[in-house]
Symmetry: C2
Subunit: 426 residues, 2 copies
């Protein structure tokens, strides 16, 4: 199997570092090399369509990062883009909002089970911060309970102590528990009785570098009852999972109801909008918080979101992504086994996480992912991956061929997992 060359990506990167800190920033860039197979990584894309993008050297990749989530229906989905372009003719960022904003709010209220109202912003982080501020405004309490390793954006309050640019005051109102540990949560609620505004968590635990963890049986129901008892707002950060588990909300998927739910990523198939949905009990508090931004009422992404949600409902995109993800991951595991590797798959199939067993240094997984990328299957190493509905059975078959060839390539290089007890279970 032919492997790609990426000389133009390297040349452009040398140009980029002159005028952009780090060249390509964030988790999308090579600065955090542990996330991405940098040396095999296409750094700049010139074209995207459906399940694929093409890099500046003309190589095609099946994209299992899906722009880190937004791509749910395939790049440049014709229905979503047609809605966006039709709206553009009528105006985008205007002094007054379009009535489309009401339509989108009504559609979310009709679609997301817990939603009595909706509010729109731009970043996922805009929505998690708004959720926190609403909870504080509603309860008059300052503290937030978060899960260790949970990701809620890049604002200082969500980062770790000691991260550059973060002060201790930014984290002064945070309390941390392990995801899924109900007893720990109950303990924190008791220790800080009357101080806690909200418990914020993702629907299931999808950190980087670690096996992703589904909620234990009965966990969310007990959490819901505890929050009710203590008057704590239950905020679900559905930015990453949203619409990939169930179009009705990931809380619905796991059998409970959040007080606030945050959406972004898959909401508009890549058009720039995020949303907070909430219960009526928090509507007045939401209206009291000063919260807005230059582009927050822009009508083009709102029109795109309407088309995206309608299409996700029509085709049941969560079901499609789950089935495709299950088929793909089963194939990947089987492929590994044929070459003596045990691929550990965790999380939900539509946005699974994987690692190799017996790979303490993570070297084996990184090498395998790099070999996959060089053959046209785009993945990150230690971040969950994503499925979109444009992926076909042929794409999955091609991916499995690539995976097989990549496993063969690393086996040939003598990369052998540590056996038995020596293989640390991360």
């Amino acid at each position: 199997m032919k492997t790609y060359e990426q000389p133009t990506s390297r040349e452009l990167f040398m140009r980029a570092v002159k005028v952009i800190p780090g060249g390509v920033y964030g988790h999308l860039g090579p600065a955090e090399g542990c996330f991405t197979p940098v040396s095999s990584y296409p750094l700049f894309a010139t074209k995207a369509q459906g399940a694929y993008f093409w890099d500046v050297d003309g190589n095609r990749y099946i994209d299992y990062m899906c722009a880190y989530g937004p791509n749910i229906l395939g790049y440049n989905d014709k229905d979503v883009d047609a809605a966006a372009l039709a709206q553009l003719k009528d105006g985008n960022c205007v002094s007054s909002p379009s009535p489309k904003m009401i339509e989108l709010a009504e559609l979310l209220v009709d679609t997301v089970k817990m939603a009595d109202w909706a509010f729109f912003a731009k970043n996922g982080g805009d929505t998690t911060l708004f959720a926190l501020m609403i909870a504080r405004a509603a309860t008059g309490r300052p503290k937030a309970v978060l899960t260790r390793g949970g990701y809620h954006g890049v604002q200082p309050w969500t980062q770790k102590d000691g991260h550059p640019g973060v002060t201790p005051q930014d984290l002064a109102n945070n309390l941390y528990v392990e995801f899924g540990d109900y007893e720990a949560l109950e303990r924190v609620f008791t220790e800080h009785k009357g101080e806690i505004a909200c418990f914020m968590a993702t629907p299931y635990h999808h950190p980087v570098f670690e096996d992703n963890r589904l909620p234990p049986e009965g966990y969310w129901k007990k959490v819901r009852a505890l929050c009710d008892r203590e008057g704590v707002v239950l905020a679900v950060d559905d930015v990453r999972c949203g619409f990939r588990l169930d179009v009705k909300g990931s809380d619905y998927h796991y059998g409970f109801e959040a007080d606030i739910e945050c959406f972004c990523k898959a909401l508009a198939n890549g058009w720039n909008v995020s949303a907070v949905c909430g219960k009526d009990s928090l509507k007045e508090a939401a209206g009291s918080v000063m919260y807005t931004g230059s582009y927050w009422l822009s009508a083009v992404p709102i029109a795109a979101a309407i088309a995206c949600i309608n299409k996700m409902r029509d085709i049941d995109s969560a079901k499609i992504c789950t089935e495709k993800g299950r088929k793909l991951t089963q194939g990947l595991v089987a492929s590994g086994k044929r070459h003596g590797y045990n691929l550990i798959v965790s999380g939900e199939p539509s946005m699974w996480f994987m690692r190799e067993e017996g790979d303490d240094t993570m070297e084996i997984h990184q090498a395998w992912v790099a070999e996959c990328v060089k053959r046209g299957v785009f993945m990150a190493n230690h971040h969950n991956l994503f499925i979109n509905t444009a992926m076909t059975d042929e794409d999955i078959a091609f991916t499995l061929e690539v995976a097989d060839d990549a496993f063969a390539a690393i086996a040939k290089r003598g990369l052998v997992p540590q056996s038995g007890a020596a293989g640390k279970d991360r």
Copy 2:
């Protein structure tokens, strides 16, 4: 002169409040009635083109809010939108950025005098927070000096104590001085020697409700020298002024160089992108801060920004807006005088602020603005206004006719300014 009816706006608003907290949120909405002439306000727009938008009742407005800043070249500028649409065919929000990102960074470095590098985000508030985090990362110090009444977005650290959802810890590292008071700044720097990471301010002071204030003669040069002496990062929030005073940066306009400059608003004529520009001395610190978001590398707004900056350079949009603003405000003042009103204009002509003299309750100004809006001239009451380059001499002439008719209308209703010393100078 005929005045508009807006029944559909009212009907839609009743629909909106059911599913959106406050109906229309932020400074764009009627919740903060003091900002906007609510009862005469078109709440929803269906079409925008050039200098105008049309509300859901089919009324046309010359828009002096310019979407609160983004509209610099006129709505739906054909050159900017053509660049955006061409890019859309090649992909928007993709796992890898487009090389257009490098092009935009290079263009900003070439355009903005102080810029050695650029970084892109989505909100203006993303850029001010990033500036603060960079300053903290670079200096190892926690504190920020801000100007009282300065606006840097809606994040808790930029809000006021006691605002809903804001905790004392959010503001624990802030120190405040009056804009333009060099001695006060020097005093704070002495009192908190070695603790201050940055001084952040707008290029000139453009708060709501107050006369806007230009920097006193020599102010910025002294501030620059003070920051150099104390190792404090000088961060200019050019989100609102950016490109309306000088395409080379508002620091350049006032004869100094910032260490970090924040842009948003006029950067891409309404397409969703913001930018931080910085000096080389802060590039490493910028690269060290964890900062990214789902849509931050989206190529469509980046392509739009390239076209917008090139066009702003080509036509010297800041000069055009300044000249049109001067002509318009002179005409408005003259119109007021004819009817016994003294309109006090402050700030820069391209984004002037105005109020009536002898109007302690602000009732006169609110009544006059409402009469203007009902005649097709869209303005907010106590927020600065904006000029765009699509506004013609005919638009200005029409605006002056409306202003005259509106002054006549409020005079007829017996709204008379308090005279002499009784007229409080705000």
